[in-house]
């Protein structure tokens, strides 16, 4: 039976020469890594020369689709952008959901891989490199200008200026983390425009249709109602109540202005509209009006990073800052966290610059965002991210720079959410919440969130592997609550689409394998066990507020959790892969090189 779900090939585009090569992907690889972050990680490992500078011409930038893109399955219109991060020097990826994924796959490929550098600022449009007239425009303006020619993924000026946490936008959604927008900018590639006529092949169209109807029905139920009715920003009040809300650069875990940033307050003072990603029945996107007639989409991570983390409680200011980040093409978490860090440095007298931002000052935040995007004045240092800024400032500022491996921390207080502390420490991307999903453990009640131990590590492995499968199929994580037995149900979806005989155990193995592959990439790029840690602040300062009062971490305790995690993964206690796993990965990568040859 012919394989459904995939086209079994990718386009390798050399931007320097303008040539495109169609390269087959062995079916065995698709079975072992699926699509999205799994396939993207494999392609990056094949296409990116070991040790290359993330901003060098030879660095690869992968747009990976998935087997479910183009099917009627709800939330499946997503893609993963994968590359080597200019923030961390390790593997990074960003997921976003929009029509771009569907249109890209209609080209008849499972991924696009960009290498080389355009001779001049350009856009890649249906296989051709063309000089762009959009350089200097926002991503949204670029989409508007090129939208008649296809679906567009574009960078803003932050990507053009190689801001190390620049995002890539498509359809108003963003592949934000890790600075892959800067990788695109380094290739002088302003936009990718796609479209096509090929339809995703389905092995059992009738069964896929029935499963899609069922999943859509499920997605309208109670398990996703929170996202529909309130959006992710309702986290803020909950986290504040539980004293797990990072505030003022992780100096506090509660914010006195949290109430003004709640969905109830935001809704009561402004117009709210709700929209959805392409092909999604959940509709989690909540947009709030502000500054006259404009309206901005706001998510928890943006809200926390541009609000409490900077000590700012004015909703008008936070919405304006989120909008500004989108216009410039900045990852909101890294932007907010880097400014919050600079604010603390300013308070401590470590930043002499007259433009150094002051804690709680919305006008300072706005100035910094613009300066970062343009790499102007102090913005040039801020655009490097908190790790490089701390290294430049010195004087122990690294101890309170809110990052792991160079990636700024998402909105979870690690001393009070200790599964998440582990997730931040060991995640391939750096201080990342989504690939590990370890916060689910903290909020499950299965492990003590204030005293992480081996049991915590065991559960963190479980959430990480499930996330790897969801991000490779790709299904939105907001669907996770609708599955009673995720692996078994996901295996049904995959087998109906592809025609493969696949069961729950097979998919569990895929999750495990993808995490191994991503770790192998990082090891190849110089990862060392000491990278898996947290900033010194989290070992030295205990929390002193509310239900998290007294919460603290020690290096020893985190080290024990990491060793438990590594053992549960089958790795050496300090986190290296065993020989059998290395050989398995080497074989998989050799298949890719053979296909290219």
């Amino acid at each position: 039976m012919e394989m459904g779900g995939f086209f079994g090939c990718y386009d390798r585009i050399d931007l320097s020469s303008g040539t495109t090569e169609r390269i087959p992907i062995p079916e065995a690889i698709l079975q072992r890594y699926l699509g999205g972050v799994g396939l993207g990680s494999w392609l990056l490992s094949v296409e990116s020369p070991p040790g290359c500078d993330p901003l060098a011409a030879e660095a690869a930038l992968v747009f990976a689709f998935s087997p479910l893109v183009g099917t009627p399955l709800t939330t499946s219109a997503k893609l993963a952008v994968v590359g080597k991060s200019p923030l961390t020097g390790y593997l990074s990826d960003g997921l976003s959901g929009s029509d771009f994924a569907i249109a890209g796959k209609r080209r008849g490929v499972d991924a696009l891989v960009f290498v080389g550098t355009c001779p001049q600022p350009s856009e890649w449009i249906h296989g051709q490199v063309r000089a762009t007239q959009c350089w200097g425009l926002s991503a949204a303006a670029t989409e508007a200008r090129l939208g008649a020619e296809g679906r567009v993924a574009a960078i803003g000026i932050a990507g053009e200026n190689l801001v190390r946490f620049a995002s890539i936008s498509n359809g108003g959604r963003h592949a934000g983390r890790g600075g892959l927008g800067a990788v695109m900018g380094s290739k002088r590639l302003k936009a990718v425009v796609v479209g096509g006529t090929r339809r995703t092949p389905l092995s059992e169209p009738g069964r896929v249709g029935a499963l899609a109807r069922h999943l859509s029905q499920q997605s309208l139920g109670d398990a996703t109602a929170r996202y529909r009715e309130l959006g992710t920003i309702s986290n803020l009040a909950t986290f504040n109540r539980m004293a797990t809300l990072p505030t003022r650069n992780f100096r506090q875990s509660r914010f006195e202005g949290a109430d003004s940033l709640s969905p109830e307050k935001l809704s009561s003072q402004r117009t709210k509209t709700r929209t959805a990603c392409a092909n999604c029945t959940i509709g989690c996107e909540h947009r709030y009006s502000h500054s006259g007639n404009s309206s901005t989409r706001i998510e928890y991570e943006s809200l926390f990073a541009l609000g409490p983390l900077c000590g700012i409680g004015d909703p008008e200011a936070v919405l304006a800052a989120a909008r500004r980040c989108d216009e410039l093409g900045l990852d909101t978490i890294s932007a907010g966290a880097t400014v919050a860090f600079a604010m603390e440095c300013q308070e401590r007298g470590l930043l002499e610059d007259a433009d150094a931002p002051r804690t709680g000052r919305a006008e300072d935040l706005m100035k910094c965002l613009a300066a970062m995007g343009e790499r102007r004045g102090i913005g040039d240092s801020l655009a490097e991210g908190s790790l490089r800024l701390a290294l430049k400032i010195g004087q122990d500022s690294l101890d309170f720079a809110p990052q792991v491996k160079g990636l700024e921390m998402a909105g979870y207080e690690p001393r009070a959410l200790q599964a998440m502390a582990l997730g931040f420490a060991v995640s391939t991307r750096g201080a990342d919440h989504n690939r590990s999903s370890a916060y689910e453990v903290d909020f499950s009640g299965k492990a003590n969130r204030l005293h992480g131990d081996a049991r915590t590590a065991h559960f963190a492995v479980t959430t990480e592997e499930r996330a790897a499968v969801m991000d490779s199929l790709i299904l939105c994580k907001f669907l996770r609550g609708v599955f009673v037995d995720f692996y078994a149900e996901a295996a049904q979806l995959l087998s109906a689409v592809t025609g493969w005989s696949v069961d729950a155990a097979d998919l569990e193995s895929v999750g495990h394998r993808i995490v191994n592959l991503r770790k192998a990439f990082n090891i190849r790029e110089g990862w060392k066990p000491t990278d898996d840690t947290l900033p010194e602040r989290f070992f030295r300062e205990a929390l002193d507020e509310g239900p998290s009062a007294g919460a603290q971490l020690s290096r020893r305790q985190l080290g024990e959790m990491i060793r438990s995690y590594n053992r549960a993964r089958g790795w050496s206690p300090d986190g290296f892969l065993d020989e059998a796993t290395q050989s398995e990965i080497a074989r998989d990568l050799a298949l890719g090189r053979e296909a290219r040859a």
Partner: protein, 271 residues
């Protein structure tokens, strides 16, 4: 002769469904209440608990039970071996009805002393001499885990029921029913507070609700029919419940005590 008080916090509180040490009792956590009562009668106070067990702050020295899987005798050994006093009155965290008269009487008798009630030797309301620590170690090595083995080896004195003061109560708080009944006996109008966040607040239209104490399921029924938090007697999958933002409560039969705040949040968090 110097005296110590030792409180064992070793059990898993499986029948109670939550840590007994934290159960509210007359305005403070139960462990605090027990420690405060006993501290007035002794020179030195110790609490014995497994490492990493979260305990309320108490004016007592904490001693780790290094082998909590071996039962109460291991905890008794740790307490006796760690104390500086000559003998100790030993009790559990679930016995708030301390008879001062009895404790004084047992210390006066000297050596190992235990009351007998309804034919049962009350090994967790007894006085043990310090040398009991090393003897307990030997017994554990021999595979003998009953505290009564220790008392017998120490050639203990029995205080028969007829000799016990009227204030003596042998009962302990092991189940939600026992706990809630005892609290309501003290204060029939005791209440707890339900606090709502996220979708629960949206659906109910209230931030909080004061309700009579009871099990978690009894409390959550007060939001019906506007907000259905239970399905077939258990908490629905899309909600989570914490005690004042601290411990998560998963079992609907968990007792909620006076003054406690039950916070209802969404199960799906994260972004």
């Amino acid at each position: 002769m110097s005296r110590a008080g030792i409180v064992l916090c070793g059990g898993r509180s499986s029948r109670m469904g939550r840590s007994k040490a934290w159960l509210p009792w007359r305005g403070v956590p139960l462990l605090r209440f027990v420690v405060d009562q006993l501290a007035e009668l002794v020179d030195e106070m110790l609490v014995v608990a497994a490492p990493n067990v979260d305990l309320p702050p108490v004016p007592a020295r904490r001693v780790d039970d290094r082998e909590p899987g071996l039962g109460p005798l291991a905890g008794i050994r740790e307490g006796l071996a760690s104390m500086e006093s000559d003998s100790a009155y030993l009790t559990g965290t679930d016995s708030p009805w301390l008879s001062r008269e009895l404790v004084e009487k047992m210390f006066r008798v000297g050596g190992a002393v235990a009351p007998v009630f309804d034919g049962h030797v009350q090994t967790l309301a007894a006085v043990y001499p310090k040398r009991g620590g090393s003897i307990a170690t030997r017994l554990l090595l021999e595979g003998r885990r009953r505290p009564l083995d220790l008392l017998e080896t120490l050639d203990y004195r029995r205080l028969e029921q007829a000799d016990l003061p009227e204030s003596f109560r042998s009962s302990t708080l092991n189940t939600p029913g026992e706990y809630l009944g005892a609290v309501l006996n003290d204060d029939p109008s005791a209440t707890a507070t339900l606090e709502f966040l996220g979708r629960a607040r949206l659906l109910l239209g209230k931030r909080e609700l004061e309700v009579p104490i009871g099990t978690l399921s009894e409390l959550l029924k007060h939001t019906e029919p506007t907000l259905e938090l239970l399905h077939e007697g258990t908490l629905k999958r899309e909600f989570r419940v914490t005690l004042d933002g601290h411990d998560f409560v998963r079992n609907a039969s968990t007792p909620i005590g006076p003054g406690e705040r039950v916070v209802v949040i969404d199960a799906s968090v994260g972004g």
